[in-house]
């Protein structure tokens, strides 16, 4: 396989920014969470890519990706529970309406 490392990194960056774009623009909290998952995955992809190209025999990159996946699972579980809880409170999952912390 002859893909230079840079292309993978660009792919990761672009995916991250797509996720970021979603997180910045979507109104629905669940959609925002999905966007965050995209960002997460882009970052995990970078771990694996760096592991593949630069690992020199160590498995640290893979281990890190593995733990990142596990953390992401926990994060999404709690995040979605929060979304459900917020929904019950506001009867809405619109992030524009969650502004109780307004200064």
């Amino acid at each position: 396989m002859s893909v230079p490392l840079g292309y993978y990194l660009m792919l990761g960056g672009v995916l991250f920014c797509i996720g970021l774009c979603g997180a910045l623009t979507r109104k629905n909290a669940i959609a925002v969470l999905m966007s965050i998952e995209i960002m997460f995955n882009a970052a995990i992809l970078n771990f694996v890519v760096f592991w593949y190209y630069l690992h020199n025999g160590a498995l640290t990159g893979q281990m890190f990706a593995l733990f990142a996946i596990a953390v992401a699972a926990a994060e999404s579980a709690v995040g979605l529970a929060l979304v459900i809880s917020v929904y019950r409170h506001y009867r809405s999952v619109d992030v524009d309406e969650m502004k109780a912390l307004k200064g």
């Binding site: 910045l24 992030v95 524009d96 969650m98 912390l101 307004k102 200064g103």
Partner: protein, 659 residues
């Protein structure tokens, strides 16, 4: 003994663990909470007993220490350590033992409280802190525990924080002791700076072992360095041990539950100051002699002496059963300090031990009385309790006799020694102390008669005897209140201090017995011969609640038959000190405050209107406008923040790119 010292940490550790566990318990787990607490304290007590037995075989004042490194920073190495010597062992045993019985009593006293587990959590933490203070061989650790003790007393005094008076009292206690702690902390810093270590004993390199060297250095006000540090440390002890003028928090601390009062006033908090002075005794005496004592010793002596007399007079005029005991404690602490100041380490520490037992007994007894009379604290609304609460009565009587210094009881021996050692130093101090001892006997007698003699004056609810878990502790403690005094000589031997032959023994002892008897007799004359019939009946002291002059008149109105000059003088004196306390000391403080306020008013009048106003207002307006504008940025919308974050990242990248 060298092996035992390595287990000293267990003594405070067990209650600490108990506190930690209890903090996690649900409210409902009352039995479990009390069980954990008592088990931990009992185990600590056994450990303390083991340590005590371990020290018994050693006649010399030898000590085992065990220091360990806490952490290093730079080249400085912070050490903590534990100590095992006779004074520590005796103190730890006393604290654990008395504490254990106080805990037992508390299970009864707090049985109706819904925050039972919280109470026991704090109580355990308090015991842990106090024990840590006792076994510490390091001023740093001692200071940490010292502050922890302060914190716990704050929490416990304000346990019923929903009562405004309790909330005020907790703050007052905390702040007043904090004033003393400033001095204490300064002293620690100076000691660390001068001695280079905070370890008390460290095989010749400890801070106390360098006291001689410190005495040679120059400190403040022409004192030697040792004396300077000692004075600063003593300021801390004044706060903790409620010595004049930092005594004001102690009576207010009565807002806490009664077991707390017992713990604070007998075994722990107030003892901490006296114990600390005893612990740092080498520093106080360094550079002085019996003929020419250091300033620090003089200060301890006279502050103690004054407090002893001053508080005793106040105690005479109290109606609240616990408040009277609180002033009495102040007074007794004065005795201890006075003994220490007079150079008598042994009498001071010994009086601390005996006092802990009988004062804990008295406080727990008063707790029993309060529970038995359905939360009544006013002595005028009691009376005749002897009939209803016989066990409490007998125990309380023993405690009272011990405090009054009646011969076979513990208080007699220790107080006698205190007076004796004071007699060697200063006849004036001795005289004042003897008078205070007389007052002590008097106010205790008054209390006894008001509470236990006569008829029940409290209304429809008849008092009842308390449950076993409340009277058992005071029964146990009363055994010690009787017997402990006989070990005075042994204790001296045990501490390994061999004092020179004291003169005037018979005179001091005789006079002590005489004033004790006189006080009791006088008390009986005033209160015992004709007891109060009902609660509204004016008491000689009830007039105190009114304005000063009408007070004086009405004070003797009913009891003019018993009117005697000496009592009148006493009353006047007591009244005077109360007023002095209220008006003069408070007045000075108020004066300062008012002056500052006045100055600020003037400044405002002159400067504000014409000079500062315009510019300042403009500035304020600017600040407010900016604030309003910036507040708009905080929209509460998470995406807005994310946007700003993203913008920042882009800007950073652009800057980096252009660089």
């Amino acid at each position: 003994m060298n092996e035992l010292v390595k287990q000293q940490w267990l003594i405070p550790f067990l209650p600490l663990v108990a506190a930690a566990v209890q903090s996690l318990l649900p409210r409902k787990a009352r039995k479990l909470s009390a069980g954990i607490c008592l088990t931990a304290m009992g185990a600590s007590c056994v450990l303390a007993l083991r340590a005590f037995v371990g020290t018994l075989g050693h006649h010399e004042a030898e000590r085992a220490v065990w220091n360990f490194v806490w952490f290093d920073y730079g080249t400085t190495r912070l050490q903590l350590g534990f100590i095992l010597d006779p004074m520590t062992a005796a103190m730890a045993l006393m604290v654990t033992f008395v504490g254990f019985w106080i805990f037992v009593n508390a299970t009864g006293y707090m049985s109706d409280d819904e925050n039972f587990t919280r109470f026991f959590c704090f109580l355990s933490l308090f015991a842990a802190a106090m024990l840590g203070l006792v076994v510490a061989n390091n001023l740093l650790m001692l200071f940490m525990c010292w502050e922890l003790v302060g914190l716990c007393s704050y929490l416990l005094i304000g346990f019923w924080y929903f009562k405004p008076s309790a909330a005020t009292a907790m703050k007052k206690a905390f702040i007043t002791t904090r004033i003393g702690d400033v001095g204490f902390f300064l002293g620690i810093l100076m000691l660390s700076w001068q001695a280079g270590t905070l370890n008390l004993y460290d095989g010749g390199n400890g801070a106390l072992e360098q006291a001689g060297k410190l005495a040679g250095l120059h400190g403040w006000f022409g004192w030697s360095m040792a004396t300077t540090i000692a004075v600063l440390l003593f300021i801390g002890a004044m706060g903790k041990s409620a010595q004049f003028p930092l005594h004001v928090w102690l009576p207010d601390a009565m807002e806490g539950p009664t077991p707390v009062s017992a713990l604070i006033h007998a075994a722990t908090m107030v003892a901490a100051g006296v114990f600390m002075v005893g612990r740092m005794f080498a520093l106080f005496t360094a550079g002085g002699s019996a003929e020419h004592p250091t300033f620090a010793m003089d200060m301890v002596l006279w502050v103690g002496c004054f407090t002893a007399l001053f508080s005793a007079t106040i105690a005479v005029g109290q109606f609240d059963i616990k408040r009277a005991l609180a002033y009495s404690t102040c007074s007794q602490l004065g005795f201890m300090m006075m003994a220490l100041g007079a150079g008598g380490l042994v009498p001071g520490q010994f009086h601390l031990l005996t006092h802990a037992f009988f004062k804990a007994l008295l406080f727990l007894g008063s707790g029993c009385v309060i529970i038995g009379t359905h939360h009544e604290q006013d002595m005028r609304k009691m009376g005749g309790l002897r009939k209803y609460m016989p066990i409490t009565f007998w125990c309380y009587l023993i405690g009272m006799l011990a405090l009054a210094g009646v011969p076979p009881f513990a208080g007699f021996f220790s107080k006698d020694e205190v007076l004796l050692v004071t007699f060697q130093r200063s006849k004036v101090a001795w005289g004042l102390a003897t008078f205070a001892a007389f007052l002590t006997a008097f106010y205790m007698t008054r209390q006894m008669f008001m509470v236990f003699a006569g008829k029940w004056r409290g209304g429809h609810h008849e008092p009842h005897e308390v449950r076993w878990n409340m009277w058992l502790p005071i029964a146990v403690l009363s055994v010690f209140a009787i017997g402990l005094g006989f070990f005075g000589g042994k204790y001296e031997h045990y501490l390994g201090v061999h004092e020179e032959e004291l003169h005037g023994k018979s005179l001091v002892m005789g006079l002590s017995v005489a004033v004790g008897a006189a006080g009791i007799l006088l008390g009986w004359l005033m209160y015992g011969r004709k007891t109060m019939a009902h609660a509204e009946e004016p008491d000689p002291l009830e007039v105190k609640l009114g304005a000063l002059f009408t007070c004086l008149n009405r004070k003797w109105y009913v009891d003019e038959f018993y009117d005697a000059t000496i009592i009148r003088a006493t009353m006047l004196l007591g009244e005077f000190w109360r007023v002095f306390d209220n008006r003069v000391i408070d007045g000075i403080l108020h004066g300062i405050a008012w002056t500052a306020w006045g100055v600020s008013q003037v400044v405002r009048w002159v400067g504000d209107e014409f000079v500062i106003n315009g510019g300042f207002d403009a500035g304020c307006e600017g600040v407010r406008l900016t604030g309003r504008e910036f507040a708009k940025l905080q929209t509460g919308r998470i995406q807005g923040y994310l946007r700003i974050l993203c913008l920042g990242a882009v800007i950073l990248l652009v800057i980096w790119y252009l660089k």
